[in-house]
């Protein structure tokens, strides 16, 4: 439909380029959103804090998982394999140091073992009587095998233990794997819990921004009707709401970042004291920047999605 040009009026305007239109619309949506957020600063801050708390929790948990993992890695109580050898086959045992996966072998004579046992059990007084009753030292020699760091995976440790167990004269093999396995399992559980909680709380952020968007649309129903009447496209009508959701989400991410940083500051002192008491050089450190970016981006993306889902559904129901 050509538009007639009235005589004597301003010349026909060049139609704006697609990019120009797009840029103008982005700018409009952005400035409108900022204006609305500024118009209700308290409300905006409260929403940002609500979303911030929801986002901070998985953020903190993920940091905790990371820290505990680091502590577990640093723990220099490498699992040892105790090989019980009949009699005193010391040379044989020390030959195992050449085995694949073995770092060192320390030999403990039956007498050493007995002394250790007696000390641990508090039997000093009755030692002689006990030995008499048993007819001599019943304890075997023990080869304490320290595996290579490369052999710390439970399956490889187990394989090494099996091999040692097949050696002649070996009565039994014992690995203190349980502790490590428990720690690993615990960390795995904790990590999964963090993920689960993260998904739940992300869902919470979606619901909060979605609901806010729904209310904002309800409030501005008349405006939407008018925009539709004068030819506003769905995209044009939708964009401010989506931007608002995205911006609230990003503000929530920022709030979460602050909460995480404050929490780490509050925990730094006690953590240092605890680490020192274990002789560990572990330091909590400041919040990592990567997490900050993830919170900001994740918050923004969740806000965008929540607003998009809620607005898309709602706007279709408003026809002029």
């Amino acid at each position: 439909m050509p538009t007639p040009e009235p005589a004597g009026r301003a010349q026909r305007l060049a139609p704006p380029s697609r990019f120009g239109v797009w840029r103008l619309h982005q700018r409009l949506a952005l400035s409108g959103t900022l204006l609305r957020l500024r118009r209700d600063p308290l409300g905006s801050v409260l929403v940002a804090l609500t979303l911030g708390i929801a986002l901070a929790l998985p953020g903190l948990l993920s940091l905790a998982v990371g820290s505990l993992g680091a502590v577990a890695q640093d723990w220099n109580g490498t699992p040892r394999i105790n090989v019980f050898v009949e009699g005193g086959a010391r040379e044989q045992a020390e030959g195992w140091a050449a085995f694949d996966g073995v770092s060192t072998v320390a030999w403990q004579t039956p007498e050493d073992s007995l002394a250790e046992f007696v000390r641990a059990a508090g039997f000093e007084d009755t030692l002689t009587a006990t030995l008499d009753a048993l007819g001599g030292n019943p304890l075997p020699g023990v080869a304490v095998v320290t595996p290579d760091p490369a052999f710390l995976a439970p399956a490889r440790l187990r394989a090494l233990a099996d091999r040692l167990g097949r050696e002649p004269g070996v009565q039994g093999v014992q690995i203190d794997l349980d502790w490590v396995q428990r720690l690993q399992a615990g960390l795995g559980l904790f990590e999964r819990l963090t993920w689960g909680l993260g998904v739940l709380l992300a869902g919470g952020v979606l619901l909060v921004t979605g609901n806010l968007t729904r209310m904002a649309i309800e409030q501005r129903r008349e405006e939407i009707r008018v925009l539709r009447l004068v030819g506003g496209t769905d995209r044009f009508v939708l964009r401010p709401f989506v931007y608002e959701g995205m911006m609230l989400g990003a503000l929530g991410g920022l709030a979460a970042w602050l909460i995480v940083a404050l929490t780490l500051m509050a925990l730094a002192g006690p953590t240092d004291a605890l680490a020192r008491s274990y002789g560990s050089a572990f330091r909590l450190g400041g919040p990592p920047w990567g997490l900050g970016l993830a919170l900001l981006g994740g918050g923004g993306a969740l806000g965008w999605l929540g607003a998009r889902l809620a607005a898309g559904r709602r706007l279709r129901q408003i026809e002029p």
Partner: protein, 233 residues
């Protein structure tokens, strides 16, 4: 420009329009009269493609509105100027921003927008009130803002639903004069009104609706058109 063929529209069980056919050539001004409930608003809704006819065909600019894709409807509406009885303004925006709305949607640059908005506002004599909000204006002024917004994007078709419903006779006359002005520059104008006295004075073509049927089609009376002073055009 506008062509209806056997158009019927049923709302629930009620026949709002029944078998309407007429053609409005480009650059003509036509009145649509009838009592309230006769189907005037329904007809305008069909032309704005706010509704689709139950039967028949509505074509504007050679385009069958029923076959238009939903995604193309906004672009179509951008080319139609619409004036409503309640002018449908955004209450929290200034007069200027309200009038600029179609230009924002079309994406014109700021200086182009400003030029066009001021041109439209000067036509409706509101240039000095561009920074007020609608609630600071009288009913008549609000109506004129609505008209300025309808014409700011130079639509090919101008539809008006009771544009003078809230205005005193002098203002009504003025606003009708404006519509005449747009018609003279080639816009196809359709005005729904029940102000028969005004309609008669203009001597333009009149379509009369009664209970959803077209019961009269009085052609324009040659030589009886009211002269419009277009010195400020």
């Amino acid at each position: 420009m506008i062509e209806l063929q056997g158009v019927s529209k049923r709302y629930g069980g009620r026949e709002a329009l029944e078998d309407i056919s007429f053609t409005l050539p480009r650059g003509t001004l036509t009145f649509l009269t009838g009592h309230s409930g006769a189907g005037k608003s329904t007809l305008l809704r069909l032309l704005l493609r706010l509704d689709l006819p139950t039967r028949g065909q509505v074509a504007v600019g050679g385009m069958d509105l029923a076959r238009m894709k939903p995604g193309d409807v906004p672009r179509y509406r951008q080319q139609i100027g619409a004036v409503f009885q309640d002018p449908q303004l955004l209450q929290d925006r200034s007069v200027f921003d309200n009038v600029a709305l179609p230009l924002l949607i079309a994406g014109y640059r700021e200086e182009d927008r400003a030029r066009r908005v001021r041109a439209a506002l000067s036509r409706v004599d509101l240039l000095d009130k561009e920074s007020r909000t609608p609630e600071q204006l009288s009913t008549g002024e609000r109506q004129r803002v609505g008209i300025a917004r309808a014409v700011v994007n130079r639509p090919a078709v101008l539809l008006a639903n009771e544009p003078t419903g809230n205005l005193d006779p002098r203002l009504s006359q003025e606003i009708m004069g404006l519509f005449r002005l747009f018609q003279q520059v080639g816009v196809t104008v359709l005005i729904a009104t029940h102000d028969l006295e005004l309609v008669e004075r203009f001597g333009e073509r009149v379509l009369e609706l009664a209970s959803g049927r077209l019961v009269g089609d009085v052609p324009a009376q040659v030589g009886s058109a009211v002269e419009v002073d277009d010195a400020d055009a």
